[in-house]
């Protein structure tokens, strides 16, 4: 764009434009700001002619004017509200010189015209691929039909393979067809695909997949039950079984809770009305629901967290995280406390967690836990550095002060005193420590 100027450097220096200077050492953020500023200052010079000519025309929806998808919308509306300007712009877009219309030009289809002789299986398949007239009816014997099929498979053209299969299906007995297909894997797969398309029969996972199309939960459950007998791999069989058990329970829980909620018997539903049905939710969501509405129920009920945990073999970590999320949401800090408390054989209690306490702190904080609760868990973080940074992030003054005290870090305590409010309890606490300790 800039043509070479011999005195370019001098030009740069003498430029009257001083709105921005560039420092190549700057970080990217500054650079982006600079280019933005540059853009803006240039615009003020040329405001009157914005986005014209050179740039492709774009309609208000952002679609380029004259593009096909834009035109579909445009020509489809019989009333053109503000279309008059756009209409004029149509012919302008494409001025490409088209290739001469006579036959010497390139035409894709004309490039592929072979010659035909006798319609052997090979020829027939070729004709099918080329969209020419062909006839399958003359392949009468089983052997001829199979030759035709093999030829189609060789061509790797699914369209042709399917067409041949349709013909074989019509003209062969099921037993014959299946016996031959078993030795022809590719053809077999196409056949399955074809059957799937025309919904005649389904196989295993394909059949399982069908449950997704059933809306009624009872029918869906019954359908899943019918899938249980299918010869899945052991892995898949477990999952299908779990899926069935889950839906079965969800139906029971849903019916029960709906009734309890509408009768107004339980406070929890009054205080926190259910936002959606639990049907068809994943198991972890169901567990969360159970920890929210059915906490403390005995192991024997379908809806109790303990029962769900056991039935669906939920890992300790997942169980703890889900439970913690639900109880923290309800601000049931006592329950939260109990989740981590273990007693040793001497009767002393100790807090343990399968997940680092820093993550527990994050979860509690996201649920707006008060500082008193938070700092208890911040204190349990093992790594001192991580503990301090968490404490600072969530303003747990006591934790910070105590940690510095234990580290006998007088300097840090003085620094921190400057950060807290003068005369506050934290401030007084720091004063006290500083005056009590002898240098």
């Amino acid at each position: 764009m800039i043509r070479g100027k011999p005195d370019e450097d001098e030009y740069w220096n003498s430029s009257k434009f001083k709105a921005f200077t560039f420092d190549d050492e700057d970080d990217d953020f500054t650079r982006l700001k600079e280019s933005k500023r540059a853009v803006n200052s240039i615009r003020s010079l040329v405001e009157e002619e914005d986005e014209e000519d050179d740039v492709e025309k774009v309609s208000w929806s952002g679609e380029p004017v004259g593009s096909i998808s834009w035109s579909v919308k445009e020509t489809a509306s019989s009333i053109r509200s503000t279309g008059e300007v756009r209409d004029q712009s149509f012919p302008k877009i494409n001025t490409a010189p088209s290739l001469p219309k006579n036959s010497s030009g390139y035409s894709l289809s004309s490039l592929f015209k072979g010659t035909t002789h006798d319609w052997t299986p090979e020829e027939t398949v070729k004709r099918m691929q080329q969209g020419k007239v062909y006839s399958l009816e003359k392949f009468r014997s089983l052997q001829d039909k199979l030759l035709l099929l093999d030829e189609a498979v060789n061509a790797h053209d699914g369209n042709v393979i399917t067409a041949v299969l349709i013909y074989l299906k019509k003209s062969l007995s099921k037993e014959n067809l299946f016996r031959e297909l078993i030795t022809r894997e590719i053809a077999l797969r196409h056949y399955i695909h074809f059957l799937k398309e025309i919904e005649e029969q389904k196989l295993l996972l394909m059949q399982y997949r069908d449950h997704l199309n059933i809306r009624d939960e009872n029918k869906r459950r019954d359908f899943l039950k019918s899938c249980l007998s299918l010869p899945f791999s052991p892995d898949d069989a477990t999952h299908v079984q779990d899926h069935y058990t889950l839906l079965e329970r969800q139906i029971i829980i849903e019916a029960n809770d709906k009734q309890v909620e509408s009768s107004g018997q339980a406070d929890i539903f009054k205080k926190y009305p259910r936002k959606a049905s639990i049907l068809n939710m994943p198991i972890i969501t169901t567990l969360y629901y159970s920890c929210f509405y059915h906490y403390g129920e005995s192991d024997g009920t379908y809806s109790s967290p303990a029962n769900i945990r056991k039935t669906f073999r939920i890992s300790d970590k997942q169980f703890l995280l889900t439970c913690l999320g639900a109880r923290a949401k309800l601000k049931a800090w006592f329950d939260v406390d109990a989740l981590f408390t273990t007693k040793n054989w001497l009767g002393y209690t100790k807090k343990r967690s399968p997940i680092g306490f820093h993550r527990i702190v994050d979860i509690l904080q996201k649920n707006n836990a008060p500082v008193q609760v938070l700092q208890e868990y911040v204190n349990l973080v093992e790594d001192a550095e991580q503990k301090i940074s968490l404490a600072q992030k969530y303003k747990c003054h006591d934790v910070i002060i105590n940690t510095y005290r234990d580290l006998k870090d007088r300097q840090q305590l003085i620094v921190y005193r400057g950060k807290v409010e003068r005369g506050s309890s934290e401030y007084r606490k720091i004063e006290e420590i500083l005056s009590n300790s002898v240098r």
Partner: protein, 617 residues
């Protein structure tokens, strides 16, 4: 048949529409292919004489947009265009109704509905169907069952195999290709690929050498050789433009698409998704730039849609850079542009002023382009500087360098517990599996259980698909090949230079895409040097030669580069393309690359194509 002299296609008229000019500037003039496709389209339209309306399968408008504009259709008497929907067709006083559709059964049912409800109104309009990319027996049978096959006058196919996407890039825009080939064993897309390559050879000459790696590559090469034998009589007399073709199966390199792309274009695709060359962006950052012409109509809630290709000078310059080099590039460009605007102060004479004014449109386009990309870069910067992005990238890099790939990863566990998007989880778990040559059964079972419990049991269908394609698998042997492959091919470079790259690994800030390393080694010193590694990757590797007609053997000038077409069967990422462009531009590279693929993909779109969950109840 065609007897074009060797150089004729290189001297097509140079004045072209702006829409396609960028296709002509590359090493190979891909506009020839676009013109051929346009000609085919015109010929079909002229077959249906008289005024017409096109009813579009909406999916096709994107790919067609890369071939033609509405003006072309209008020249051939297309007066109205509608989107395909059930019920009665909108009124339009035209002689012909043409359906442009993919060969899908559900679309046939809609067409049948349209045609049947039309008959009742007894207005004599002719119906035609144009199948893209091919006719389908299954569809025609469906139309027959619905009793409308007889009402259709023309049933034709429009072979849109390879669409010119940019000056050095061709795409079949076939979303399902990977799924069909590797999951459903439906190799129809390979047949289309072979057909597309035959078309290409008809226009650009026979490609003398074919290399390949992978089952699908082998199939395509076989079909090409067979088709060539069948059309032996119709040899094209064109001096070969391509020296060689390299066919690569996507499944020889499952790792690369799973990694987060770190080039500018790659990140735009990762974050916002590029579809048929367009991206939709949140409008807020762009709102200030628009003139408030029609106040009521300027709704900032609508996403801003932008076309991204090399027609835009600035974009062509920066798209393949590592994102960390974008700030510097944009600021450099800003300097140049403001300096150009400053020149008005130096323009004293009428001539100088005229000169300045004549450059204004170009300068303004450059300014608006700079403004747009500054805004996009800001949007992306917000994401790349986030903690979540950093953590994710750290884990990816750990996997790629082989750190703790044989243990349950706590970051993945945390992401599941937080219910992060399932696709993100799947990308990471698959990556761990690929980098460990499969996961220990216990670990695989653990991940699977956590995923099913958190996201729902129905996802066992998806997990099953991932296993079938090899993206997720149990470890079968104790030997993990990945470290050997990584070391031999130098897939990890500690000192990747993001600002001034000297190796392709800059596109992933350290990881050099396996697919591109194979391409690089093939050019020099040749695959013989890596036989061991090639054996560890799935499928055969091979080399074929195609006979050239006498007199068409190219005599290479001293120092002239070779041109290689690299075809990715099952998809390619923008970062891989960037790496190939980097190789093309290397001074002593000796090879320039043209890229072709079944589809432009990223980890998210790829995994999505393998998911199995019809519409939720």
């Amino acid at each position: 048949m065609m007897h074009t002299t060797a150089s004729s296609h290189l001297t097509l008229p140079t004045v072209r529409a702006k829409m396609s000019a960028h296709l002509s500037y590359g090493r190979v003039n891909l506009n020839i292919l676009r013109e051929a496709a346009r000609k085919e389209l015109r010929e079909f339209l002229d077959k249906c004489a008289g005024s017409k309306a096109i009813v579009w399968d909406e999916y096709l408008t994107g790919p067609f947009g890369l071939i033609a504009q509405y003006s072309l259709l209008k020249e051939h008497e297309v007066e109205k265009m509608f989107t395909l929907k059930g019920g009665r067709l909108p009124a339009a006083d035209v002689k012909n109704i043409i359906f442009f559709v993919r060969p899908r059964l559900e679309l046939m049912d809609i067409i049948a509905e349209n045609v049947i409800s039309e008959d009742k109104m007894h207005s004599p309009r002719d119906f035609h169907i144009l199948f893209v990319p091919r006719r389908s027996m299954l569809c025609e049978q469906r139309l027959k069952e619905q009793g409308v096959l007889g009402s259709l006058i023309n049933i034709d196919e429009y072979i849109l195999d390879l669409i010119p996407y940019d000056g050095d890039l061709l795409s079949m825009e076939s979303e399902g290709a990977f799924r069909e080939c590797y999951l459903e064993s439906d190799q129809t897309s390979l047949y289309h690929t072979a057909k597309g390559l035959m078309t290409l050879q008809a226009l650009y000459g026979t490609i003398p050498q074919i290399f390949g790696k992978g089952e699908c590559a082998r199939h395509v090469a076989n079909m090409m050789l067979r088709m060539k034998r069948e059309f032996a009589g119709s040899q094209t007399q064109i001096l070969p433009v391509f020296d060689s073709l390299l066919l690569l199966d996507r499944n020889i390199d499952l790792l690369t698409p799973l990694a987060t792309q770190l080039t500018y274009e790659g990140l735009i695709d990762e974050v916002y998704g590029i579809t048929n060359g367009y991206v939709k962006l949140p409008p807020e950052k762009f709102a200030a730039q628009k003139k408030q012409v029609e106040v009521g109509k300027d709704l900032p809630t609508e996403p801003k849609k932008m076309q991204l290709n090399s027609a835009e000078e600035l974009y062509a310059e920066i798209r393949d850079k590592n994102f960390n080099a974008i700030g510097a590039a944009l600021s450099k460009k800003a300097k140049i542009i403001s300096a150009a605007f400053e020149e008005r102060h130096n323009a004293k004479t009428v001539g100088e002023i005229k000169q300045f004014v004549s450059q204004l449109p170009h300068m303004q386009a450059a300014r608006s382009s700079l403004a747009n990309h500054t805004s996009i870069a800001e949007l992306i910067k917000d994401i790349t500087t986030s903690e979540a992005f950093f953590d994710n990238l750290t884990v990816e890099q750990e996997f790629m360098t082989g750190v703790d790939t044989d243990k349950v990863n706590t970051y993945i566990e945390d992401c599941i517990a937080q219910k992060d998007p399932l696709i993100k989880i799947l990308r990471l778990v698959c990556m761990q599996s690929v980098c460990n040559n499969g996961l220990k059964q216990k670990i695989l079972d653990y991940y699977k259980r956590e995923i099913l419990q958190t996201y729902g049991y129905e996802h066992m269908l998806t997990l099953n698909n991932l296993e079938k394609t090899g993206l997720l698998k149990p470890q079968t042997s104790t030997r993990n090949n990945y470290p050997t492959i990584r070391k031999t091919l130098k897939l990890w470079m500690e000192d990747a230079n993001e600002q001034n790259p000297n190796d392709i690994s800059y596109v992933y800030s350290g990881y050099a895409p396996l697919s591109i390393r194979l391409t690089q080694v093939l050019a020099r010193p040749g695959w013989r040097s890596i036989e061991e590694v090639l054996k560890m990757l799935p499928g055969p590797h091979f080399e074929e030669r195609q006979q050239l007609p006498a007199g068409l053997h190219k005599k290479r000038q001293q120092g002239e580069n070779r041109t290689t077409l690299v075809f990715f069967l099952g998809g390619v990422t923008y970062a891989e393309i960037a790496a190939l462009r980097f190789l093309s531009q290397m001074e002593d590279g000796g090879t320039e690359y043209i890229i072709a693929t079944t589809k432009l993909i990223n980890g998210t779109s790829w995994i999505k194509s393998l998911m199995d969950r019809p519409e939720a109840p």
